[in-house]
């Protein structure tokens, strides 16, 4: 399984057959990767390789799995987005930004860009993880996706006219109500999930899991997809996207991520939709779109396994590829940095923290002000007091000792933010497993710990909210308090 060339002998780096093998593994491991021929043509900067590489880069750089809707974007649009994404990642070469977007030239530059991305991070693994088939009931523990709240308002909102503030109040109340509804539905779903796990104990072939997940149980209940409740939305028995759809609707830890899962599976099922010619699919796509959920799930799993094997093969043979890329780079002329023009980047995704830098600057400046005042005061007081003290040797020794101690303390403080965010918090979706004894392996999470973390997070956030509300209260009191003839009666306390 690709273990043949584990440690490539540097002396025999360009062994015949090693390079094509490596490139073949690479193209198999990427979703609809271009054929090895494309790579070779790109080295010689042939124009016919360009559009395939643009599309591949688009898929790699897109923040979410590319569905049909996105794949059908015109080549120019894709190329443009690729450029801005690369720019925002700090891609060094300027030639890429200057390439025409119609796919007529520049395949060598694109090949270099692809290699740059591959060198920076585990790209095939990440893409595989993105498109993974989840077999269990997944719950996302870390909040990084939950934090990405729906950013700017949806474009379909028409500009409404001036609105009464009571409408705002009403919307707020509606929002509170919806949250309450959400909580109660969530509780019910957890209870049902727990029951299902309990009842199917003992039947999973994998002892460490011990019970079926909802996806698996549903697949058993209805392997042919012949029986679907009418209210289930999409005609699931006929929809080859059923397995993934089922999964995403079952996850208790829902959030924006599962929504995009839905989008993905509805738009893209290479090999499951009729007439799709996925070059990667050696087994051949089933031309029939009426796949039972079981078959669909099996196919997706098998395809994932194939890609996994390709990635493993790539990892074992990639050294040869890097040697080759060095030669490709050598054939390009060295660039002259454009004088004084910082490449501008247009963020692909409208970033929520656009003014983040400004906020931090302001905070720090305020802090600086406070500190300056405090230091002046203290320094003046100190000079007044200690001016009269002697300047003996023990005095200066004491001063030096103090200075060193303070430096050490402050150095430790600096470490607190210098190093990257603390202990590795496990993130990504976790499969829910019910065990009476709660035993868990070293990499697994226990619910009790997660609950503790969440409680502390909750406390933090509540404190922040209360602080903000307190600020508002003070501000409003200041604004309206001066008016005579009015009595402000606060609402009854909690």
């Amino acid at each position: 399984m690709g273990r043949r060339r584990q440690r490539v002998d540097p002396a025999a780096g360009a062994r015949a057959g090693a390079l094509p093998e490596a490139i073949a593994a690479l193209s198999r491991s990427l979703p609809s990767g271009p054929s090895p021929e494309i790579f070779r043509r790109a080295k010689f900067d042939r124009p016919e390789a360009t559009s395939a590489l643009w599309q591949l880069l688009f898929r790699v750089l897109s923040p979410l799995p590319v569905g049909n809707a996105l794949a059908s974007l015109a080549l120019e649009a894709q190329a443009h987005l690729v450029k801005s994404a690369l720019c925002s990642q700090g891609y060094p070469r300027l030639a890429l930004a200057q390439l025409p977007e119609d796919g007529s030239q520049g395949s060598r530059e694109l090949l270099l860009a692809l290699s740059w991305l591959l060198a920076r991070g585990p790209v095939p693994e990440q893409m595989l993880a993105q498109a993974r088939v989840p077999l269990g009931d997944e719950m996302t523990v870390c909040q990084c996706e939950a934090l990405a709240s729906p950013g700017p308002p949806a474009p379909h909102m028409e500009a409404e006219g001036p609105v009464d503030v009571r409408r705002v109040q009403w919307l707020m109340g509606k929002l509170q109500f919806r949250w309450r509804q959400l909580v109660s539905s969530q509780q019910e779903q957890c209870a049902l999930l727990s029951k299902i796990h309990l009842y199917t104990r003992g039947c999973h072939s994998d002892q460490s899991l011990g019970h079926l997940s909802v996806t698996e149980a549903e697949m058993l209940r209805d392997p042919e997809g012949g029986q679907q409740a009418s209210g289930a939305g999409v005609a699931q028995n006929l929809d080859p996207a059923y397995p993934k759809c089922l999964h995403s609707s079952c996850t208790p830890g829902m959030g924006p991520r599962t929504f995009w899962n839905d989008l993905w599976l509805v738009c893209e099922q290479p090999g499951l939709l009729p007439g799709d010619a996925a070059p990667l699919d050696p087994g051949g796509a089933s031309a029939c779109s009426l796949l039972s959920p079981l078959r669909a799930l099996l196919q997706t799993l098998e395809r994932e396994n194939q890609r996994l094997e390709a990635v493993l093969a790539w990892r074992h043979t990639e050294l040869v590829f890097w040697r080759w890329m060095d030669t490709v780079l050598g054939t390009c002329a060295p660039e002259v940095p454009a004088a004084a023009s910082q490449p501008t980047f247009l963020p692909w995704v409208p970033e929520r923290g656009g003014g983040e830098l400004e906020l931090v600057v302001r905070e720090l400046q305020a802090l600086e002000e406070e500190l300056r005042e405090a230091v002046e005061r203290r320094r003046a007081a100190w000079e007044a007091k200690a001016g009269g003290c002697g300047r003996g040797p023990e005095w200066s020794a004491a001063r030096r000792a103090s200075r060193e101690a303070v430096e050490k303390e402050l150095g430790a403080l600096q470490q607190c933010w210098k190093q990257d965010s603390g202990p590795a918090r496990p993130h990504g979706p976790h499969r829910l497993v019910r065990r009476e004894d709660g035993a868990a392996g070293e990499r697994d999470l226990r619910a009790a710990e997660v609950i503790r973390t969440l409680r502390s997070q909750e406390a933090c956030l509540e404190a922040v909210l209360r602080r903000l509300q307190g600020q508002c209260r003070q501000e409003l009191a200041r604004l309206v308090g001066a008016l005579p003839g009015l009595i402000w009666i606060p609402p009854p306390g909690r």
Binding site: S149, Q169, C190, L192, L312, G353, R378, D420
Partner: protein, 459 residues
């Protein structure tokens, strides 16, 4: 009335939040539907019974013809059925008398036992007990069932095992009553003609088996490491245990033990790219800038905290006072450094207003989470031990998400409403109404409203 642009922003934000909630609610409801359906009685569909299992999954079982079997077979099955019913009766006599027999009498034949196999007895009685409302205890009835091969080739197995695994006889219990088409001339019309073989997950859940092909593919794909630290799964049909790391696990191990040469080659390549482009220092990516800004924000709060501590501490003697002074000066210097760094960052970044892009608002994994820990490719488990725990967990997650949203809305409202209140001329009821609404929204989360009394001087 609020001015137009302010209204637009507020309504848009709130509407966005409402939409997000609605989305989640929809997903939850779909999920609830599926779960509820799973917990109800599982109806067999007519389509299963006679269809021979398709394709490669038939390697373990001879595909039985869809046509009616010979009368000889039918007779044998009939004998078998009678023997089983008798066995069941005997068993039931041993277990609690007075156990309720549910209407579909087929439930009594639920467990396949070959008459002589005692190993299967416990599962059967447990199966019976299951009907009375308890659920299976922890011992694995599966082993017992696996021994029995009796009507193993029954069509009914395929109800759940569409790949026709011959060893899984849990549901093959129905074999004496294979698909209706086979024996309708001999079968008494069952009480529920549509569902002669219905059962609930509660009773029979522990007897289900996943199809073999699926198990194979899934275990090859990913097997979580059991607490014992050994990954085992049953490959093949009869449980030849083999220790074999799954593909995802292999991926994880190659990540950590990456070939030194490959890593060195990659670094070299990146450096070459950098020098070839003429810019010696790599430019910062947007993600890095954001991460840096986050770190500096954290620095700011830590420094402020430290400053407060120092200022509030009352120095005892001149030594302590001196240290306090030094600390404050040190803090001041650090703040200066941070500001300097920020200016550098600002200069390195030129941000233009984003173009409307075809992909709106997809969630982006925040850099702190993605870059930090080594990505764990193998699936990780989240282990819970009771329903309450799971519910608490989910409720807390929702609460944290809700608080986050509330804080965001609070900031937006502050930015929009406070200026309005301060700039509006204090005249008349509209402004008072605005104040009242602003107070309610900003200070009480919209839940409570204060009262304003006009205090007219009498006469």
């Amino acid at each position: 009335m609020l001015p137009a642009d302010c209204s637009r922003r507020l309504v848009a934000e709130l509407q966005g939040a409402l939409d997000a909630c609605a989305q989640r609610q929809l997903q939850l409801e779909q999920s609830l539907r599926v779960c509820r359906r799973l917990l109800q009685a599982w109806e067999p569909t007519g389509t299963w019974a006679l269809k021979p299992p398709p394709g490669p999954e038939t390697n373990e079982e001879d595909p039985l013809p869809a046509c009616t079997p010979s009368p000889q077979d039918l007779k044998e099955l009939e004998f078998l059925t009678q023997a089983l019913e008798k066995a069941v009766r005997v068993r039931r006599g041993i277990t609690k008398a007075g156990e309720r027999d549910k209407a579909p009498s087929l439930k009594s034949r639920s467990i396949v036992t070959s008459p002589g196999t005692t190993a299967s007895a416990p599962p059967q009685s447990r199966g019976q007990a299951g009907q009375a409302g308890g659920h299976a205890s922890d011992t694995r009835p599966t082993k017992g069932l696996r021994q029995t091969a009796v009507p193993a080739k029954g069509h009914a197995e395929r109800r759940l095992l569409s790949v026709g695994d011959r060893t899984r006889v849990g549901m093959g219990a129905r074999a004496p009553r294979p698909g209706a088409g086979l024996r309708d001339q001999q079968m008494a019309p069952s009480a529920a003609p549509q569902a002669p073989e219905a059962f609930t997950l509660k009773e029979k859940g522990h007897l289900l088996r996943l199809p073999a092909a699926f198990r194979k593919a899934a275990s090859q794909n990913s097997r979580p490491i059991s607490p014992a630290g050994i990954t085992m799964f049953l490959c093949g049909s009869w449980g030849t245990p083999c220790v074999h790391p799954s593909l995802w696990a292999q991926l994880g191990s190659t990540q950590t033990s990456d070939s030194m040469d490959a890593t060195a080659a990659k670094t070299q390549f990146l450096q070459n790219m950098q020098t070839a482009s003429g810019v010696p220092q790599p430019r910062l990516s947007a993600a890095e800038v954001e991460a840096e800004a986050g770190r500096l924000r954290k620095a700011c709060s830590l420094l402020r905290l430290r400053m407060r501590e120092e200022l509030s501490a009352a120095p005892m003697d001149w030594m302590q006072e001196y240290r306090c002074l030094l600390t404050l000066e040190g803090l001041q210097a650090m703040v200066g450094q941070c500001l300097h760094r920020l200016q550098e960052l600002r200069a390195a970044v030129v941000v233009q207003p984003p173009r409307p892009c075809p992909v709106e608002g997809p969630p982006r994994a925040s850099p702190s989470c993605r870059g930090g820990a080594e990505p764990a490719w193998s699936p990780q488990l989240l282990v819970y031990s009771s329903t309450q725990e799971l519910q608490t967990l989910a409720a807390l997650q929702l609460r944290v998400a809700m608080l986050d949203q509330q804080i965001h809305l609070e900031k937006v409202l502050m930015a929009e409403l406070l200026p309005l209140v301060s700039t509006a001329q204090p005249q008349g009821p509209p402004w008072l109404a605005l104040c009242r609404a602003a107070h309610s929204l900003l200070c009480e989360g919209g839940a409570r409203v204060l009262t304003i009394l006009r205090d007219e001087p009498a006469v």
